[in-house]
């Protein structure tokens, strides 16, 4: 999985630079609702339930202001990644106890032809582990700026 490959999984319609959510539940709902609005998903309840179960398993707040809620769902036909940003930060029960500002939601179908779901998750963790990338993502105001960070990762 290289950065050029990764950027093909993003869509401007799933770029949310000004999230309104104040809580973890509101955050998951706000992003899933956007997937439904742009017709990537039909049933928000099923996907929200899957994401909540994932959070019961362990928080996807990986620390340093980052959350990567993720999972496979029968309600999806392709891998999709949404990006959301909260300047104020959202309490997410992260592993370091800090609020999250940068959120990547990765939704995958039951089976994907090229089996890219886990490599994508791994690549996202790799990119977000770099402090300079986190800083650039915080200041990315347009989808073009955002994609440039992902491309250069």
């Amino acid at each position: 999985m290289d950065n050029e490959d990764l950027k093909t999984y993003f869509d401007e319609q799933l770029f949310l630079p000004h999230l309104q959510a104040k809580t973890k539940d509101e955050l998951l709902k706000e992003i899933v609702d956007q997937f439904v609005r742009v017709k990537y998903l039909k049933n928000s309840d099923i996907v929200l339930e899957m994401l909540r179960q994932r959070e019961i398993l362990g928080s996807t707040g990986i620390g340093k202001g980052i959350a990567i809620p993720h999972g496979r769902t029968t309600s999806a036909s392709e891998i999709m990644i949404a990006f959301g940003k909260s300047k104020e930060g959202i309490n997410y029960d992260s592993i370091d106890g800090k609020p999250v500002n940068l959120i990547f939601m990765i939704i995958a179908p039951p089976q994907d032809e090229r089996n890219m779901y886990l490599p994508i998750l791994g690549k996202m963790v790799e990119i977000l582990n770099k402090a300079k990338n986190r800083g650039k993502l915080m200041s990315a105001e347009t989808f073009e700026d955002f994609i440039e960070v992902i491309s250069k990762g």
């Binding site: 029968t74 309600s75 999806a76 089976q111």
Partner: protein
């Protein structure tokens, strides 16, 4: 149908726990997930659950999405439009004529 879909979503999550842990994600409460899975399974009628488990053994994924163009994403055959009108209601469990998997209409 929604319960069955939720069950498969949980099964897929349980199946990939070790991989997501390897990537550095927290996934410590596996037992709670397994309990949630058992509770959900108990709400599904027995013949349907049996059919799901049997298909899961055979194909790994018992339920497959159907795309807007009526393609089964398990075997990629085009399904008759008459079938999709029934399948879209969510109340009916429909099996693919090609591969036998349970179909879930996305649109």
């Amino acid at each position: 149908m929604d319960l069955l879909v939720a069950l498969q979503d949980l099964d897929m999550m349980i199946e990939e726990i070790s991989e997501v842990k390897r990537l550095g994600f927290s996934a410590e409460r596996e037992e709670e997930l397994i309990n949630a899975r058992e509770e959900l399974a108990s709400k599904i009628n027995k013949p349907l659950l049996y059919s799901y488990e049997k298909l899961k053994k055979r194909y790994k994924r018992a339920i497959v999405p159907v795309k807007e163009d009526n393609t089964c994403l398990g075997c990629f055959i085009k399904l008759p439009t008459s079938m999709s009108a029934i399948g879209r209601t969510d109340a009916n469990v429909i099996y693919c004529e090609g591969c036998g998997r349970i179909l879930y209409w996305l649109f």
